[in-house]
Symmetry: C2
Subunit: 406 residues, 2 copies
Amino acid sequence: MDSGYIYATYLIEGASDLEKKARGIAVGLTVGTWTGLPREKQEQMAPYLGKVEEVVRLEPADDGSPRGRITIGYPMRNLTADLPAVLTTVFGKLSMDGKIKLIDLQLPEEFLSRFPGPRFGIEGIRERLGVHDRPLLMSIFKQCIGLPLDELETEYQKQIEGGVDLVKDDEIFFRDDLAPVGERVRAFERRNRVWEEQTGKKVLYAVNLTGPVTQLPDRAKRLVEAGASCLLLNVAPYGWDVLHRLAEDPDIPVPIMAHPAFTGAIYASPDHGLSAALLLGKLLRWAGADIVLYPSPYGSVAMPRKEALKVAQHLRENNGVHRPAFPAPSAGIHPGLVPVLYRDFGRDAIVNAGGGIHGHPDGSTQGGRAFVDAIEAVVSGVTLEEKAETSAALRKAIDAWGVVKA
Amino acid sequence: MDSGYIYATYLIEGASDLEKKARGIAVGLTVGTWTGLPREKQEQMAPYLGKVEEVVRLEPADDGSPRGRITIGYPMRNLTADLPAVLTTVFGKLSMDGKIKLIDLQLPEEFLSRFPGPRFGIEGIRERLGVHDRPLLMSIFKQCIGLPLDELETEYQKQIEGGVDLVKDDEIFFRDDLAPVGERVRAFERRNRVWEEQTGKKVLYAVNLTGPVTQLPDRAKRLVEAGASCLLLNVAPYGWDVLHRLAEDPDIPVPIMAHPAFTGAIYASPDHGLSAALLLGKLLRWAGADIVLYPSPYGSVAMPRKEALKVAQHLRENNGVHRPAFPAPSAGIHPGLVPVLYRDFGRDAIVNAGGGIHGHPDGSTQGGRAFVDAIEAVVSGVTLEEKAETSAALRKAIDAWGVVKA
């Protein structure tokens, strides 16, 4: 592959002449026309012309419709280094052109290095927390909307007393009149400081960053000034590029957690949109997410295991430029799933639970402790049943939800 | 329906108990939990609780899988009046929850009125152009990338001499080192002024607005200062909310044309994402697009006719709050299609052509004239063949592409 090109790989169904289709894309999405141009014009335009890198015929669809996988190279010089430019070029018009799915993008290092990537990444977050030898544990507020600050603060305290490393806002928390975001940050971060003084344990609070997209950087800075330790962003609803701008801003020196809200509208179809691995694994890391939440393969809102593993792979593999980001495969997680999570996602992942913490028979704090003990068990090679002999919290969690064998 | 609620309608496949599914959504995406709450807590949370408005069982899918349509009401008080908040709430997590498609949203007027809608709309653009009695005609640059300013200016002049009302940049025009955006605006708007002095005819140039999303308002203002008459925005790649912020900004007093780049990734699947009518017809109008480009039902990049008509309907119908916006059903348009376009989309639409103008046997200017004459014909009830007796440009266009009977 030529380092001056961005390569996009598509699955296509219904194109009888794949080579012709591929040439049409390579020309149509770059210089517009080619074969009719006079030679000197072709010489002028050649540096801007796309090229067909690969055309692979696949098994026909069930209805006999032809299928294929094609890879097109787009000259880097056609593009600015941001996701709107990349997505408009490689999947703007093309997204509307019948059954076609963008399954991968490969950027040359020179281009990739102009994306910020995670400011902290896995190691940076581990350093902030002082935790290096196990998966992290995150708790999701059961409820945010409609609760006054003092009730939320009580819920917050219960969660951190369970031993979690991170607590995140509910992503649907927009109207927060009863507990304004600045007050939340001040109250919860004060709880974090007191907890650290008492126990030595650090906690990050991911506060939901909301508002007009053009004001998000300023709002983020005000939250940082108020003491925010982590930001939560619904990236797809706000747009990929604002994550990029937040991540590259030196005045926003806190980790950014990307929520996958709305991304199912883009990745879930087998015939349209983008693959989950590209969308959640590559694009969000390039744009600067330190932590990416996405559906685990285990819950009711589930992602196929192979795809979920590929997201984690893209977030963590060496891409030559960026720090690795934390995968947080979420939904349906209870303590009895920790062995399977550890087998599938390893040490550098975040165990993220809502119902699996708050639904513990003895409440949120014991719910957190059950997870802490489950994580300690898997990391030290002890079964959950053995661990439960000395952990009442884990014992009750297992009784409630069972254990899924790794 | 209760005016304090936002109503979202979904198509769902695979849920055997639709009522239960609907209740789960109404609770899960608002207050989180309900049935287990003590009575006084329920009283406190009731104003924030979603409600099931309608559950309709549909014919099962081909494989026997149950299908249904459900409408959920979300309390307006849970939300801020912006698309990120609306989409995160009604289709955040839910977008990832199996086969589910968001097909409609209905906002109460009080909420809707907090979205800017089109600043100019159909009448405002007609006033700017001084054209009130026919569909407008727009020309797309055949090519932008890699061409120096003087060549683009020559192409621009050819297009306006054909009699078009608007000319738009190619939406993939990001790296414009050879013809920087400010210079383009100055050069093309000067051409517009000279043309108006010579002929009395006004033209709008839709310049591609690009750059970091947080800088788009400032860039737009600089382009307006340089004389820009219209802005082109790839809304989905940049994010819905930035369109909202541009449209509501009093210092950006020019029409905004929304390009549908990337929207196929969201609307094209029958089982996932959003309907085209909602995405392109409602959301883009609410956020402030004066003109919405989208696939016509006629070309190779086609949208089913019924859906394309519904987009136009949503853009133009009385929604109680906003000005109507122009539909520009695009792709595959040649002069011989004007009768069908006029039958389907009427007077308040934009006839938008690229290949159908530049591919005219006698070049872009004659290509424009063929369209001008075709539009004049359909509006005055004359057939294209009759009109072609006195229009050589139209005659040649018909010989090249034929006529599609309305």
